[in-house]
């Protein structure tokens, strides 16, 4: 009794009740399709978040000062004034794994153009700032090294600022006032869109940090130092080197803790990924419930089938079929049902996740793992729910089975 023979017998008996076999499979089909589609949506969301994190900058490293406490009251991260532009210069000079460094000052300011005004965020950095944050130009130019050295009153605008101050007017070479200081617009940035948290990344004005530091705020320190590693593999090395350089510059003894924090993009990505993983698991577990329901459908039909074919079982036993033979016969039928359903479900799942991405404009991503997982799960469901009816058939008394009408 070869496997092929058993399969043939199973296919023949399933073929006799095509409609019923199909309806039974439908439970598994829907279950598998749902699991694949939901995993695709979850994976797609994860992918989308990763792209968004990439849009923050390439291999970005953020260095900000640690919290200070005055009189026992902690003032939160970034409140100390330990980081200076010279720290940034030192990192650039002494850390081989670091590609770009920019000191960053951020503040918010009222901006005015003619009769329009808009409150926005001013990000002040050096020429590397654009490379680190992946900003690209739509029009005009970035500010130059000379602009930094001469504290030039120039700025580059984000799309949201352009829309609110200029409307349809081309802003390049126009003068705007930021906190009553005149700035010449020399460039407009390409839009980046919202962050995962809903912040508008385009609501921004970028200006040379020297100008903002001396003319607007009168600070000697910077809020943050942004750096980028040579490659994603070099991020950890870069983090290490930056920490060493800054500890030396800040004259920290070995027992003293860092007075700054280095955070890499990987940290941010990990946090975001865990969120999307929870989402994926949630979706997949809801979908797998329908797979289990499909399995119960198989069990139900197999029980009906065993009752219907009691006489056939009796005949088979009387001419020498062992319990095991009958068990295999019905078990293989259940497995064929579930695997065939699984196969159709995979196709349907792939098709429906395509449909989701084209209708809802969501990114969906079908991983081979999700196909293997759901197909395997369908097979397991077939074995699990097919076993009881098959065992029931195998344990029938041949005399009673033969007499069954």
């Amino acid at each position: 009794m070869s496997i092929l023979n058993v399969l043939k017998v199973a296919m023949i008996s399933l073929g006799r009740n095509k409609m019923r076999s199909f309806l039974t499979m439908l439970g598994i089909i829907i279950g598998v399709a749902a699991v694949i589609a939901m995993l695709a949506v979850g994976q797609g969301a994860k992918e989308a978040i990763q792209t968004q994190i990439q849009s923050l900058g390439t291999n970005m490293i953020i260095i900000f000062p640690s919290a200070v406490s005055s009189g026992g009251v902690s003032n939160g991260a970034g409140t100390s004034i330990k980081l200076t532009p010279d720290d940034a210069t030192a990192i650039q000079a002494e850390c081989p794994s670091v590609e770009y460094v920019s000191p960053v000052i951020h503040t918010s300011a009222q901006t005015i153009y003619k009769n329009m005004n808009w409150r926005t965020e001013i990000q002040a950095g050096n020429t590397n700032y654009f490379s680190i944050r992946n900003w690209t130009l739509k029009e005009g130019n970035y500010f130059s090294e000379n602009d930094i050295k001469s504290d030039a009153n120039v700025c580059v605008l984000g799309q949201t600022v352009v829309q609110n101050l200029f409307g349809n007017v081309n802003p390049v070479n126009k003068l705007i006032r930021i906190n009553n200081l005149p700035f010449k617009v020399i460039g407009v940035l390409n839009p980046k869109g919202q962050t995962a948290m809903g912040n508008d990344q385009d609501d921004i004005i970028i200006a040379p940090f020297t100008t903002v530091q001396t003319k607007m705020l009168g600070w000697t320190w910077v809020n943050v130092i942004l750096a980028s590693a040579q490659s994603s593999a070099a991020i950890n090395d870069a983090e290490q080197q930056i920490t060493e350089v800054l500890r030396a510059r800040h004259h920290l003894q070995s027992w003293e803790p860092n007075d700054f924090t280095v955070r890499t993009q990987t940290d941010i990505a990990t946090a975001a990924e865990s969120t999307s993983r929870v989402l994926t698991i949630l979706l997949a577990s809801i979908a797998s419930v329908s797979l289990i329901v499909g399995g119960i459908g198989i069990m139900n039909i197999m029980l009906v089938s065993v009752t219907e074919r009691t006489r056939e079982i009796g005949i088979r036993m009387s001419i020498g079929a062992r319990g095991k033979d009958i068990l295999y016969q019905f078990l293989v039928e259940a497995i064929v049902l579930s695997l065939l359903g699984g196969l159709i479900g995979v196709l349907l799942g792939v098709a429906s996740s395509d449909l989701i991405s084209s209708l809802a404009k969501w990114t969906t991503l079908i991983s081979p793992e999700s196909i293997i997982l759901s197909f395997g799960f369908a097979g397991a469901v077939g074995i699990f729910f097919g076993f009881y009816p098959a065992r029931k058939a195998a344990l029938l008394n041949p005399i009673d089975a033969l007499r069954y009408e």
Binding site: I315, S318, I319, G320, R322, G323, L402
Partner: protein, 275 residues
């Protein structure tokens, strides 16, 4: 793995069976039943279906078991056919003690040593004649090619080779019963058990079936037949009457009817051979 290991067991058991066959040549008994009883429990009541039966059937015999309904002949038949086990007493089939076998061992005995022919034919519907005949060989794990050859051989022996690819509902009652006989013959069993094989057939077809049985018996195949029709029992060599779970009489049939001669006297039933 499972299939391979069970094949191995098959091979081992066959060598054991061969030894039993050798030892059996001395006393020639196919069936040896001693003091057999069978008690059913229906709720609180005990039903004594068989109350101590002893019987010997030698190789090449043709025995008809007769009796009214409730006489225990069907129960006895089920035990002879290894579908059921006795409550007490012993049953030896070709030297193998049946009484204490497991379900799987009984299935193997049914497969290798016994061919069943039932009143209601009991063919698998929507399965062709030749596939029906192949079924016991399939459970004997015979190879596909050999299986088809043996099945066709068996169908030829009952004169139905030309109907091999018809399904039961395309065959007449007599033809279906001949397919069932072919199925019983397929594994070359030592014993053919027929339970009211003519019960669903008209008288001429019944005699045709008996003709086949007589022909098989001439080729040294042992046949045990259960029937309540006296004129059918007269085609056998020996008649055993059951009464109230015991053997009432055990006689040699004389004069014995020969089916082929009876058929010559009967008018030909034209409709019977319609496909």
């Amino acid at each position: 793995m499972l299939i391979r290991s069970s094949l191995k067991i098959d091979l081992e058991e066959e060598t054991v069976e061969d030894k039993i066959m050798e030892s059996n040549n001395m006393n020639n008994n196919i069936i040896k039943v001693e003091n057999l009883t069978k008690v059913y429990k229906v709720g609180e009541i005990e039903v004594h279906a068989i109350r101590g039966v002893s019987l010997e059937v030698k190789k090449g015999e043709f025995v008809a078991i007769m009796g009214a309904s409730g006489s225990g002949k069907s129960t006895f038949m089920n035990i002879l056919g290894c579908l059921d086990v006795p409550t007490s007493g012993s049953y030896t089939l070709e030297g193998t003690q049946i009484s204490q076998l497991t379900r799987d061992q009984l299935a193997r005995i049914r497969n290798n040593k016994i061919g069943f022919v039932f009143q209601g034919f009991n063919l698998l519907s929507r399965t062709t004649a030749v596939e029906n005949v192949e079924l016991p060989l399939y459970y004997k794990r015979t190879g596909t090619k050999e299986r088809r050859e043996l099945a066709m051989e068996a169908l030829e022996s009952v004169g139905l080779a030309d109907r091999a690819h018809h399904t039961p509902n395309q065959l007449s009652g007599g033809q279906q019963q001949r397919v069932a006989i072919a199925r019983a013959l397929a594994t070359n069993p030592s014993l053919i058990l027929a339970d009211e094989p003519t019960g669903n057939l008209d008288s001429r077809t019944s005699i045709e079936i008996m003709e086949i049985f007589q022909k098989l018996n001439e080729n040294d195949i042992t046949i045990v037949l259960v029937t309540h029709e006296k004129d059918i029992a007269e085609f056998a060599k020996r008649n055993v009457h059951f009464r109230d779970g015991k053997i009432g009489s055990d006689i040699i049939v004389n004069p014995r009817k020969i089916a082929s001669k009876v058929l010559e006297l009967l008018p030909v039933n034209v409709e019977e051979e319609i496909v």
